[in-house]
Symmetry: none
Subunit: 384 residues, 2 copies
DNA sequence: TGTCTATGTGAATCCTCGC
DNA sequence: CGCGAGGATTCACATAGAC
């Protein structure tokens, strides 16, 4: 088995520290394509060594004879040998094997993406659940320009389905760049339906005869959204069915590391050339929008230490109905209720919970302002 | 087990001839709701007696504790006992049992629709394939007004999936009203993505307290498309998880026969009343159920995905006074300000709000153009 | 009657850290 | 590991009430 190095893809200052290495040396498999069968090849990777997996397994299309368009031209279908399986059982065994291999190399906080169509995605999804993966979302890629149904016997098959999952139900702390995706989407939450065109035109890899190199090349826009949402710069992205390397290309563009596995020499050659030509983005351009969660926690007591509030100051809710006194230890007192800004806020409202930062207000001049603005003042005065 | 007759629903001149009856007499189960467990109740139906099945089985949601909106209001979750299963194995056994019951009563030329979410649809789809059903399409119902993801930890779950299948790979001659659907869809082939709102407002059944009668009532527009596409007038439509009878209501409206199976008395009562009130309109106006013409929203991030802007590109206001850098996640950075095109536009101006599409400009040749022109380029490259 | 505002709600597998 | 506390988080509609 050989390894083709295709050029570094990350801008991070050091390589990810991998279990068992204790070293900052770049592993020989990073930013390369492993040649061979995916299960066997993945044995070369250490346990828990990749952050995210994007898998585009064979769809097991089970096509009958040739399909022709109304003008009698033949549809160039995906009839490659790698897409043929003898039975559902054979496909299930194949699926189980590569999912288990993925589970070993995926970090406990990592996530797995799988894309498929109705031919295979139900079997893959069920097997993922059987193996303990915990589904976070299914995301549908809606094709703006799908191939029509030429025979008029079914609906135009205009979408494919992606499953996004953690390796276990108990997984906490997986990467989801919520705020970045929201900014991307004009300040609205990103939904589970993604409207994107097919991979065509200049992006579609062609051989010397002008034929497409790979029958199911995915658009880079799709991977762009996948990696933007679930990885950070410097992360390691594994694609066990690398094909012509869309995952690697986008990973390099976005300053992520990649590792691919592929059997077909022709695909590897095309992918290698493609990725080598890519200029990665660098530096601040790769920084994403972060929300409050990513910022350093500032306890309420800091406002007293900074002199922004004084012991004895009065806080009220936005309508002045509830009032509380700030005590020297950073707790509040309101009638018989005492405790943190959150606890007292909840108690005076009779609510289960309360965010005291936005509930309690102080008086500046003649205006009521939430104490959260004082926290912001401390944050902005801190070294970045 | 009792049978509630709820009124005739068909405009066909005679009743469907059913195997073993040799008679035109209306069977006693037609246009009724069978009370009881679906597998047991279906034994009352003759073999090969229904044309189409629409099944909305329990999703097995596996919810944890309570969920609250940011305003602290509690989400009224679907936590009914009928949605609880002890394990995936138990759910699979349940699925297998009702699918087999369906296969017996379904005509060889009939089709089966199943709706579900990522919690269950993969298991159901795999089991369908295991039992020999042949998948024709998966169709995604895209919700125009889904519930948001309140904690910002996943993508907004904005769709559900339907699977449409024949009972066998060899099935020929199933009903698909291709031309009708195409006319319905402004002379375009009907696609596998259907944009429809949730069932709310006056259509949503409420009890005397104003509470919803059923936690998961489906919109009639969804069933309208299902029945319009895969049944003919006079056909028999079976819904083995009848609930409050959306399938029966739409079947009656469209001059199809129905038969439902339901365990819960309260649902049956509501469904009976609902269906009895329906006037089966002949030549009903189809326009009423057409989905709203989807005006596609193009998020700013799409300009990056499409390669029309590159990470690191500089944008300016029309007079060049304010400048910002495009980051890989579709956010802008201008000095200390970061965020969406709208937010940063507002911040640099000190304004409350800003339309980033018209405020920010890019350089083409020596000309400044608003980024809105790039959005138009994407729009015009999309079909219609 | 009309317009604006406040409130309610939908199939939801919805937190993270420190002790 | 469990437990408790801090404190972060929402979009499209429909309906009712205010003015």
């Amino acid at each position: 088995m050989s390894v083709l190095r295709t050029g570094a893809s990350a801008t991070a200052s050091r390589y990810p520290s991998l279990p068992g290495t204790g070293s900052d040396l770049k592993p020989d498999w990073l930013d390369t394509i492993l040649v061979g069968d995916c299960v066997a090849a993945l044995e070369r990777l250490p346990k828990h060594s990749v952050d995210v997996v994007f898998a585009d397994p064979p769809y097991n299309l089970q096509l009958g004879g040739d399909l022709h368009r109304p003008d009698q031209s033949r549809v160039d279908a995906c009839d490659d040998a790698w897409d043929q399986f003898a039975s559902f059982e054979a496909y299930d065994a194949f699926t189980r094997a590569w999912l288990l291999a993925i589970k070993r190399v995926l970090k406990p906080t990592g996530t797995l993406w799988v894309i498929g169509s109705y031919h295979n995605i139900f079997r893959v999804g069920a097997k993922m659940q059987d193996l303990g993966f915990w589904l976070l979302n299914d995301v549908v890629w809606l094709k703006s320009n799908p191939m029509p149904n030429f025979r008029g016997k079914r609906f135009t098959n205009a979408h494919e389905t992606m499953i996004w999952a953690t390796p276990s139900k108990d997984t906490k702390g997986y990467t989801f760049n919520y705020e970045a995706l929201k900014a991307f989407n004009d300040d609205l939450q990103m939904r589970s339906d993604w409207h994107l065109p097919l991979c065509t035109g200049g992006e579609r890899l062609k051989d010397d005869n002008g034929d497409k190199v790979h029958p199911t090349q995915k658009p880079e826009a799709l991977l762009y959204r996948v990696l933007l949402s679930s990885t950070n710069p410097g992360d390691v992205v594994l694609d066990p069915f690398f094909g012509t390397g869309t995952t690697g290309a986008v990973a390099k563009k976005l300053g992520r590391h990649f590792v691919g596995v592929e059997r077909e020499r022709s695909y590897i050659e095309a992918a290698t050339k493609r990725i080598a030509a890519i200029e990665p983005a660098e530096g601040m351009v790769l920084e994403t929008v972060k929300g409050k969660r990513a910022q350093k926690r500032i306890p309420f007591g800091s406002l007293l230490e900074a002199g922004l509030l004084k012991p004895g100051a009065e806080l009220t809710c936005s309508r002045g109905k509830h009032r509380a006194i700030v005590r020297a230890d950073g707790s509040l007192a309101s009638g018989d209720f005492t405790g943190s800004i959150h606890k007292v806020g909840a108690l005076v409202q009779g609510a289960e919970a309360c965010n005291g930062w936005t509930y309690w207000h102080f008086t500046r001049g003649s205006l009521l302002e939430p104490i959260d603005t004082l926290r912001e003042e401390i944050r902005s005065s801190m070294p970045r």
